[in-house]
């Protein structure tokens, strides 16, 4: 029952379509997102291992085979894997309904995405046509299955909260299309393809489009909820995501690239600035590794956007000349690894124990077990473990970004990256195992309670 007056009720409908609106019956089983997250950690570890082995050679050239392999292990095998896994939870939440056949979709998407990413990385590192062709075939499956499943849910609902996700999925389709074109061109070299231009468009659509829009859409819901901050301004909710998408589109139109860059950078900086301001204004100011991850990640994203804006100064500007060919690798890893990667690591410290807790609570209720059996979120993933996860990623990110300017540090950056993802994997497996133990304890307590009744 609700006796809210109409105007407030309407505002509520828009403002509270967030994870706070999670209908527990729409939640897919915990193993659905967890298998994506654990696989993502393994791919991150592999990327670190590639940098560890190839070190200076990787960081010396953006197009070095080992760098191309590591970047795709991270972007496709790790970040896309995490984002897909999270979307199984986020879309039902923002869309208000569960994904159709979530278990089947997950069972198809996760192994083919993993195999495709591994095959692509191998093909890029060795210039192996067979591996590239296999990657194209394998990656076709998750995209053909997942995009329509998520897209259908996104298009059916009219919530404003879904707008950034719709745009993100659009950019994702674009990224995949451009990536497939590039992989096809590598497998069957064709004259006339502007390789560098298409590569830049592929990277921009994936990073600034898919990843940034997904971060915008998720953070607009998650930051106020998890960190007890004021809500985002209506203007930000309305204009930031479309601004990023429009800026990206304008960048590709002849004669409008300067305007596009300005719009894109302004929208991205707006989001980073407003999120940092909201975090500074949060009600509970205790130390939280996830907050630190947001702060460092968003600062890195902002720095990368400012670096992108250097294009406006022209190629002869002193700073452009000083950075030279290193600028593109610096920009990509500052945005992707220090920015997106740090935010993803921080968000996982919140999302994983929270989802595990929700599933346990549902189990507790269904089994009519006493609530004191329930563990706390802290018991599922301790603050010390979460801090170690974020700090190790930040250290790795600092070394990776430095290695783009000092390639001799590439091996060390690889070692730090491997260690950071090992910590992430260890935390994920630990939280998952603790969830299973708690589920068993709940079932046992429910049995005892039933026997005593």
């Amino acid at each position: 029952m609700t006796d809210l007056p109409r105007p407030l009720g309407a505002a509520v409908a828009i403002e509270n379509v967030g994870i706070g609106a999670l209908g527990q019956d729409d939640l897919p089983p915990l193993h659905v997102p967890m298998r994506f997250f654990v696989t993502a950690a393994l791919f991150g570890l592999l990327a670190g291992a590639v940098w560890l082995v190839h070190g200076e050679a990787s960081f010396g050239d953006r197009y070095a085979p080992s760098m191309l392999a590591a970047v795709h292990l991270l972007t496709l095998g790790c970040y896309t894997m995490v984002m897909f896994g999270a979307l199984f939870q986020v879309v039902p939440v923002l869309g208000g309904g569960g994904l159709p056949r979530a278990r089947l979709v997950a069972a198809l998407v996760q192994p083919t995405l993993a195999a495709g990413a591994a095959s692509l990385a191998f093909g890029l590192s060795r210039g192996d046509r067979t591996a590239l062709l296999l990657a194209l075939l394998l990656l076709g499956i998750p995209f053909a299955v997942f995009v329509p499943a998520v897209g259908g849910n996104l298009l059916r609902r009219r919530s404003r909260a879904l707008r950034p996700l719709r745009l993100a999925m659009l950019c994702f389709v674009l990224t995949v299309g451009l990536g497939a074109t590039l992989a096809g061109a590598l497998a069957w070299p064709a004259a006339g393809l502007p390789f560098r231009t298409v590569t830049n468009q592929h990277a921009a659509a994936g990073g600034l489009g898919f990843a940034l829009l997904l971060i915008v859409g998720t953070s607009q819901q998650v930051v106020p909820m998890f960190h007890v901050t004021p809500t985002f301004s209506r203007a930000a909710m309305r204009f930031v995501a479309p601004g990023i998408a429009v800026g990206l589109g304008l960048q590709w139109l002849p004669g409008l690239s300067v305007v596009g860059t300005l719009v894109l950078v302004a929208a991205g900086l707006w989001h980073a600035g407003e999120t940092l301001w909201l975090l500074a204004a949060r009600r509970r100011r205790r130390k939280d590794p996830a907050v630190m991850a947001w702060q460092i990640g968003l600062a890195s994203v902002a720095a990368a956007l400012l670096l992108a804006a250097l294009d406006l100064l022209g190629p002869e500007a002193p700073v452009q000349l000083a950075l030279g060919a290193r600028r593109e690798l610096l920009l990509g890893l500052l945005f992707g690894f220090a920015g997106v990667g740090t935010i993803v690591s921080g968000m996982l410290t919140k999302i994983v124990p929270f989802l595990a807790f929700l599933h346990l609570q549902r189990r507790c209720l269904a089994a009519r077990a006493p609530f004191p059996v329930m563990p706390t979120m802290e018991a599922l993933l301790s603050r010390r473990m979460a801090s170690l996860q974020v700090v190790s990623h930040v250290v790795a990110a600092a070394l990776v970004v430095t290695a783009t300017l000092r390639p001799g540090l590439g091996g060390l950056a690889g070692a730090a990256t491997t260690a950071a993802f090992a910590v992430l994997g260890q935390n994920l497996v630990t939280a998952w195992a603790r969830h299973r133990r708690a589920a068993t304890a709940i079932d046992r307590a429910a049995g005892t309670a039933a026997a005593g009744a």
């Binding site: 006796d3 706070g20 999670l22 209908g23 329930m374």
Partner: protein, 81 residues
């Protein structure tokens, strides 16, 4: 009927839900619960029904929402605590 007020507006999830479920377990025979929160706690509602409670949502005085919760066997509490 006496109102028992629980302010969860400054708490991170899932603490609001945890505290409400604990408070409901401790509710005296002549009491009902008023949960104050900054967001509408939609996941709570199916749980309340399963646990044998009714609820009503209204605009809060100091927080955005107040959820009035009472036992299904009790009469509905008056409009304000």
């Amino acid at each position: 009927m006496r109102a028992r007020v629980l302010d969860t507006s400054g708490l991170e999830p899932p603490q609001p839900m945890q505290q409400v479920l604990v408070a409901l377990g401790e509710l005296a025979a002549d009491e009902y619960l008023v949960m104050q929160h900054r967001r509408e706690p939609l996941p709570l509602y199916p749980m309340l029904a399963r646990l044998g409670f009714c609820h009503r949502v209204r605009r809060g005085r100091t927080t955005t929402f107040e959820v009035v919760i009472w036992r299904a066997t009790d009469p509905e509490p008056p409009g304000s605590p």
